[in-house]
Symmetry: C2
Subunit: 449 residues, 2 copies
């Protein structure tokens, strides 16, 4: 007989925890994931890219003021302390709502109990996708570095171009769309082309470049009060930006932009005019609105499926005031946090929480010392607004290291007009000149004969 | 009659200043350009890229510790205060020595009175150029971000790979070449794979990864004293790197590296084994040595042409001790400064200066707290050497902003093991799995039945 009483081992039977699949590591997806920190669920966070991007500052990468790593961080590093999350680098190609499975491009199937779709939006060229190659937009790090490359290469080529017409086309920059992104981009390009680079080039002077901002609407920044739109227009004009309101773009080519009968010779055009939601509606077999967004109810469910949430730029829903919620980061973040609460409530049998969007304000910066901010009851403009804008953006960036780096970068650029991130990466194809004309030498010294 | 005595205007006739063309904005070309600051010459500085790269730190970009903009700066910005320089973004395709003209790829002709060729070197695969695609090297920002992408993607794919053999191949990293670059790269990859990422991944633990450093020679870091080679070997082994000395690579494929009869299954191989000079010899119609370098005399002229200088990694010449000068930054910088003095002497009719290379030492870092430094008379190793290494590298970086940023980046990485620049850029093709197997879920909670 054994000294110890023998007991039968207690069988360890795994109880499956609810599986939450979050697609997209943008503001919405990350907010949902983080709000489930410590919860008794297993989260799988899927994104096509390995990094989260702070989209509101992408225009600063496109204009060489910040480096990609300043405004983007690896998704894994952001959620590394949250033990209930697994991060997967993959893309969605379909959703089987009956089997509750997400189909990934790698061929894997990802079963879910709760699915959060936060896959954002891309540019929309209003049916003219052939314009995309000539007028890229900025929605990702790759977009922003491609635009940066385009702008910087145009300046490089203008430096050695001796033909006046070609040179002026190289130094003309057209921004299409007068919303916050377009306004910020136009201001930043004007500063880059007019001021920052003038001391580095020998033949380009601040007066050589032309920046045109084309907007279809009657005023810039339509979501803002009229006074702030006027302020933005004033500030942009001071920076040397030609603002063309009430003007539609009718054609875009590799060296021109057409506005009705008028053709602007320009080698660089950037698109900031329209967005099209990610194909979440297609994956769900669901109808979408004109911008490709999925209509959702007040709990962000697409009709008839309480297991699925669609949030952020991919969802179309109305706020408490009956007006559609705007496609901005605070909306996505608040929706993400709400969805997490709703999942926890459903799992514990609590009544579902109700969502109310809290609007903090709209803001846009114009160049290096002006901004406009609409807090609803009060408005701020000029330098004070720029300082508030800087603080808000630095504060919201993910991770202390980036916060420090961006804070430093903005301050340094402010003090010196420097553009430290002015790198052209990728292979550069030299543009052949039509004649073997000698390069303009630096001005010869004039001495009396 | 006029009240004023009429004088004939003094005709302003331009006197052409000597034209100095510098090809390549690396260490040598920039040193030559800067040493001509204020001189009565017109300098044209030509580079294929718009930025100067601090090559000794490229391995830090490849291992996601630093961002490209931390170690590279626009050439224009570096020389912007030097009024006698024009910077041109273009590539050389030939040189007409009789007409004294450099032919550029854009079709332009660039006449010169003095020509400085400082076009550096690329990798050499010893006749096996088919290996290049599987084992990229790191000589440019593009190279480094491509290697970074390769390493990070392998980790991402290993995280979801369920097949043990494929997973282990994804987590095996082979560095080919045991010189300073290979040693530094192997140490940095080991830290990235073993430590930095371990908290971010759920299925990769520090013990999963394997880093192999293959070297053909009998000891690492052959230019260093034997004691330091032994120290480097010890430090690398401590970091978990498998060092294979006296071993030649006989084959490289997309998922393996062959060492004689042995095949190492590895998805990531990086080349740090050999260099091949830029085609300056071809442009000059000149013979070159095995590494493609142009033999030059003690004043860095290729035979019979006193108007042309070849310096840096493209030139082959002996030092005062009769041994060939090594292909390192200090050599290129001292040669560049010497060439500038030689041009000024020739223009003023002074006797040509004589060159004597001053060797300050060799240094290599191993991971985040070890380095080896050979100052000739005395040697330093361990943490002290690492601190000296950090200071030297931060100090020599071009521009205060970068100096600050790199200093901060290195310190931050040291304190936190963080890899803030861990971005995978470019489109990512998902790797199809052979079966529609479910992704490994996070470990289920075990509760007694």
């Amino acid at each position: 007989m054994s000294l110890f009483r023998q007991t039968r081992p207690v069988a360890a039977v795994p109880i499956r925890r609810p599986r939450v699949v979050v697609i997209g590591a943008g503001f919405g997806g990350l907010a949902a994931t983080r709000a489930l920190d410590g919860a008794d669920v297993d989260i799988t966070l899927v994104d096509r890219r390995n990094h989260h991007v702070f989209q509101p500052l992408l225009y600063q990468v496109a204009t060489a003021a910040l480096s990609p790593a300043d405004i983007a961080g690896p998704v894994r590093a952001i959620v590394c302390r949250q033990r209930n999350v697994q991060v997967i680098l993959d893309a969605v190609c379909g959703i089987d709502r009956t089997a509750r499975v997400v189909k990934l491009e790698s061929g894997r199937d990802l079963p879910y109990d709760w699915l959060v779709l936060a896959t954002g939006a891309r540019h929309s060229y209003f049916g003219r996708d052939d314009w995309a190659v000539h007028a890229p937009g900025i929605k990702s790090i790759e977009d922003a570095t491609a635009v940066r490359r385009k702008i910087l290469l145009a300046l490089e080529r203008a430096e050695t171009e001796t033909d006046k017409v070609r040179r002026s086309a190289l130094l003309t920059f057209v921004v299409i769309g007068g919303g916050p992104t377009g306004v910020e981009l136009a201001g930043a390009i004007a500063e880059l082309a007019h001021r920052s680079v003038s001391r580095d080039f020998r033949s380009i002077t601040p007066h050589c470049s032309r920046v045109v901002l084309v907007h279809r609407g009657k005023r810039l920044l339509e979501p803002f009060p009229e006074a702030l739109s006027a302020s933005a227009l004033r500030d942009l004009t001071k920076l040397g930006v030609e603002v063309r309101l009430d003007t539609a773009v009718t054609g875009v080519g590799c060296d021109h932009v057409m506005l009705g009968d008028e053709t602007i010779a320009a080698h660089t055009a950037v698109w900031a005019a329209g967005v099209m939601a990610s194909p979440a509606a297609k994956w769900l077999g669901h109808e979408s609105d004109r911008s490709g967004r999925v209509a959702v109810d007040e709990n962000f469910h697409p009709s008839g499926d309480a297991r699925i949430f669609v949030i952020g730029d991919t969802a179309s829903c109305n706020g408490a005031n009956g007006r559609p919620l705007p496609g901005i980061a605070p909306v996505a973040k608040q929706q993400g946090a709400h969805v997490a609460r709703a999942i926890l409530a459903a799992e514990t049998g609590a009544p579902p929480p109700s969502f109310r969007y809290r609007h903090y304000g709209n803001l846009a910066t114009i160049g290096r010392s002006h901004a406009v901010i609409d807090f609803g009851r009060w408005q701020v403009e000029g330098l004070a607004a720029w300082l508030i804008w800087s603080m808000i953006h630095v504060f919201f960036l993910v991770g202390f290291r980036n916060r420090f780096s961006v804070g430093w970068g903005l301050l340094w650029n402010y003090l010196t007009y420097a553009r430290h991130a002015r790198l052209i990466t990728g292979e550069i194809e030299p543009v052949p000149v039509n004649a073997a004309e000698p390069v303009v030498p630096p001005p010869a010294q004039l001495v009396p004969a």
